[in-house]
Structures are given as C-alpha cells and as structure tokens.
C-alpha cells in the first residue's frame, strides 16, 4: 500500500506571492515576473519533515488569488488536509484577505490545521504584531514571516503545516 498523499491548499489575495512561495518550497526557484494564477496549479512534492522521519507526500494547490474567496474557491478546497494562508507583509492591510480565507477554510473544513505566512518580509514589513497574535490565537495556528526571494521562513512554514496535519492523523 502506497503512502498517503496530503492535499494542502494555499490561499490569499492576488499578488501576495502564493505561487512564489510554493515554487521556492517545491522547486527552490524564484522569479521576479508576476504571472497570475488561473484556477489552480498543482505541485507534487515529497518532503522529509525531519532527518529521522519518513518522507511525506504532498499535493500543493496554488489557488487563484482574490481578496474574497469565491464559490469556486470553496469547491477547490474540498478534501484539503490543511491550508497555508498568505498575506503581503508590505501592504498597509495584509490581513483582511487572510481573515476571509481563514474563515472560509474553517467554515468548509472545521478543525483542519492552518498556518499563516506574511510574505515579502525581505522588503521590510509593516509592524502588525497585535493582529498576527490575534489571528494565531483565533485559529490556534503558527505564523511565519516569509520571503520567497530569499527563502527565509518558507520551508519552515510548509513543514509546520505538514506536522500539524500529521499530528492530527488526518
């Protein structure tokens, strides 16, 4: 019997760097050119969460970004084991779209783990520690400052989500 493959969805507003984060994590590459994601783009990835652990198989769903999740987005996330919610740390308000995405995910798949990523941290972030704390408490999830450009925080964010999924035995 083959090892289970877990579906992870990546959600957030457009232009926050969801595709860049995934491609950094899966392919270890980065492009400055913005290319909008249409529908969904899937990436298969096998990751060893720890040197001693068995590798875990993931299918990462890069879902078309929007400030508000659409009905189609609700259909896309069906069957997901967890979600990475991404915001652009350089925006004046990175959180509105993150709240919307997280609420929608929790509504469709209650109890499934989330992880927050405030991306573009290399560009200098606005200070939002109170809101980040409020979100991590509300969803009982970790938050990471990430940079798809430098790679900082990217793998730790995905691995934290994968560990949460495994620990829940999903």
């Amino acid at each position: 019997m083959s090892a289970k493959t877990y579906k992870i969805v990546v959600l957030g507003d457009f232009g926050v760097g969801k595709t860049s984060l995934i491609r950094r994590y899966v392919l270890d590459e980065f492009s400055e050119v913005y290319r909008a994601t249409i529908g969904v783009h899937l990436y298969k990835h096998t990751d060893a969460l720890a040197a001693t652990a068995l590798p875990v198989n993931l299918v990462v769903w890069d879902i078309e970004g929007a400030p508000l999740p659409s009905e189609q987005t609700r259909r896309y996330i069906v069957g997901a084991s967890g979600a990475l919610i991404v915001g652009d740390a350089t925006r004046a308000d990175p959180f509105s779209a993150m709240w919307e995405a997280a609420d929608m995910f929790e509504d469709v798949l209650p109890g499934r783990p989330l992880c927050l990523a405030l991306n573009k941290s290399d560009l200098g972030t606005e200070a939002h520690p109170e809101t980040v704390n409020r979100m991590t408490r509300r969803y009982d999830c970790p938050a990471f400052g990430t940079s798809a450009l430098t790679g900082d925080g990217v793998t730790p964010a995905f691995r934290a989500l994968a560990r949460s999924i495994l620990s829940l035995g999903l």
Binding site: T5, Y34, I38, G39, V40, H41, L42, Y43, V78, G79
Partner: protein, 366 residues
C-alpha cells in the same frame, strides 16, 4: 473497427476515463494514455488526491474549470467528475482549455497588474504626503529651535551696545556675554546635529572605523561629564572592565553617541536629590549601557523621543531640539550595532548599545 482512442482528444480536446471503486482506470476514451488501464488515476491527475470521500458519493458531480500541473505549466484542463446515473459508473472527463485559459489569463493578469499598480501608487502617494508633512513639521521645528537662541543673541547684543544712561555697568556685561556665548554654542550644536541628520537621510553620513579602545572612550566621557556644570549634583559612576575593550569603530562618533546619551540622562535626572547616571561596559559583545534614575517614559513617549525633534512629555521642559536620540540611532546603525532602550514611568531609562561582534579581533590600542 472501433473509434480511434486519440480522435476525441485530437478533434475536441476531450478525454474520458471510467474508474473502479479504487480509482483505477477501467476504460479510456480520447487517449491512449497515460493514465493507462489499471493505473491509479491520481498518479496522473493529482488533483483527485484528497477527494476520495467526495468521489465515493453516489451523486458526485465535481467541476474545476482551470487546472494546471507541474513546474512547466502543462496544458490547462477543465475537469468534470460525474457518476453515470444509469450504470453508477464513475467518469472523469477532461477537456483541453488552452485557448479559454489564455484569454482568461490575459484578463486576470491585466486586472491584477492594474490593481497592484494602483495600490503601489496609493502607497507612494501616502508616503509622499507623509514626507511632506514631516518636512513641514521639520521646518517648523528648526525655525522654532533657531529663534530662541537667536533672540537671546540679538537681544543681548542690543543691550551690550547701549550707550548713554542705559549703558550697562561693568558688572552687568559678563552675564549678557555669557548668555550670548551659550546661545551661540546651542546654535552651533543644533546646526551640527542638523547636518548629521541630513547626511544620514541622504546616506552621506560616514564613519571612519579604526582600532580603538571602548573603555578609554567611555572613561574619557565619564571624566568630562563630572566637570559639566549642568551635571553638578549628579552622581556619575562607571563600571568598566580592568583591561582595554578593543573594537573597530569611529572613536569621534562613539564619543558623540555617548555625549548625546549623557546629555539626555543629565536632563532627565535634573532636579532630583538622588540624581545618578551609570556607564557600564560588557566586554562580551561588546555592549555599552548608560542608565539614569530619571522619570522614565511610557512606550508612546519613547516612540516620540526616537523621532527627530521628538519631545516627549518627560523632556518638555528640558533644553534641546530632540535630535540626540535620532542621531544616536543612525550612528550606531552605521557601526552595524543596535540601540535597545528599556524604560517605564518612574523607573528611569537604560540605553544599551549592542555593537556587532567583530568578524576578526581588532588590534588592541593604547
């Protein structure tokens, strides 16, 4: 002779797969594979991972309009998964949507790019407006800070130049001369600070690092501070290592940092009967600390004090333009260090300068 399996795909871009309960391919239309007969369709179409429960439902009907897989942006497909109501068989139907996808992508790309550009413009406009407000406030502050000592100088000079019956007595002259001198020194200090601040804004503030001894610098400042008239009555102490603390730094700028911190501390403790200022060096780091037992500040007041011309409530009555701490931050930044400030109301203030650890040990001096 049956239908060529590739005909549907070639003609209409359509493929169809009938699956068994284990999601293995039992029939394929429109393609000769992959996925091949008997294979788990999820290996070829990973989009179906996670959907096992949904696929097992008797009334399953899933639709996904645009799906791409792989690193090189494979041809986009539309996917439909339905159960044949007559036979109960599960069918996966795929259609090549390259053309629709290209049109849709162009629209979305334009919309998103425009929105992102608009957001960037709004952000740039807000930053420009904030910079304009800061510049206006800066000019108002500079004008105010220049006027006070200039009034003293102009007024004092006018009094000194009186003739006839209003002429000053010889005993009165030194007092006015001292006022003019003190105001001149204040003006010079203000102009020097403004030049430093301006250079730091334009990136022209430079430092000239060379091997020096932090202990000797601090020791010199402590000796100097004990001679300052405004520090009279303040207990100034220092806890310094026995030996030199070698580092690479611009000694003149480090002295300036210390004098600014000292100046702030002296103002903070003024009027206290137990006024005290303590200098400390932790040679590991190295870390330099200047503490006072003044009134301290709230977090909000500290934010104000960090900004140029910031005058928190606790410092309102003190002399100074409020540039000292801003310049300290910039000079320490240039040295690759950081400034940490701990303070709270009625608990004094401690400024810690944490210098970057040297990549190679500097040659001890002195």
């Amino acid at each position: 002779m049956g239908l060529d399996p590739s005909l549907l795909l070639d003609t209409f871009g359509v493929m169809a797969f009938r699956l068994d309960d284990d999601l293995r391919v039992r029939e394929a239309q429109g393609t000769q594979g992959p996925p091949f007969m008997g294979e788990d369709i999820r290996e070829t179409m990973p989009v179906l991972y996670g959907l096992e429960d949904a696929l097992a439902a008797p009334d399953v009907d899933l639709a996904m309009p645009f799906i791409q897989t792989g690193r090189d942006n494979d041809e986009p497909m539309a996917l439909r998964v339905r159960r044949d109501p007559a036979t109960g068989d599960l069918w996966v139907l795929c259609r090549d949507v390259s053309e629709e996808s290209a049109i849709h992508r162009e629209l979305v790309q334009k919309h998103n790019s425009l929105s992102l550009a608009q957001a960037a413009l709004v952000k740039a406009r807000d930053a420009a407006q904030e910079a304009d407000r800061t510049k206006t406030a800066f000019l108002a502050n500079v004008s105010h800070e220049l006027r006070t000592p200039l009034h003293v100088i102009i007024g004092g000079a006018a009094i000194l130049s009186r003739t006839g019956a209003k002429r000053l007595t010889p005993d009165e002259v030194p007092g006015y001369a001292d006022d003019i001198h003190e105001s001149g020194v204040l003006l010079l200090q203000l102009v020097d600070d403004l030049i430093d601040l301006s250079r730091s804004e334009t990136g022209d503030l430079t430092i000239y690092e060379e091997p020096c001894d932090l202990r000797a610098i601090v020791s010199g400042i402590v000796s100097l501070s004990r001679e300052l008239p405004e520090a009279r009555g303040t207990r100034i102490a220092a806890t310094l290592p026995d030996g030199p603390v070698p580092m690479l730094a611009d000694a003149r700028r480090i002295k300036q940092v210390l004098l600014n911190l000292l100046s702030n501390a002296v103002k903070a403790v003024a009027g206290r009967t137990d006024a005290a200022i303590l200098f400390e060096i932790d040679p590991d780091g190295p870390v330099l600390t200047v503490s006072d037992n003044g009134p301290g500040m709230t977090a909000a007041e500290l934010e104000i004090a960090r900004k140029p011309f910031g005058q928190p409530r606790a410092a309102v009555r003190a002399k100074g333009a409020g540039l000292g701490l801003a310049i300290v931050h910039r000079l320490v930044d240039l040295h690759g260090g950081r400034v940490e400030i701990e303070t709270a109301p009625n608990e004094g203030l401690t400024a810690r300068i944490v210098f970057a650890a040297p990549s190679r040990p500097p040659v001890p001096t002195g």
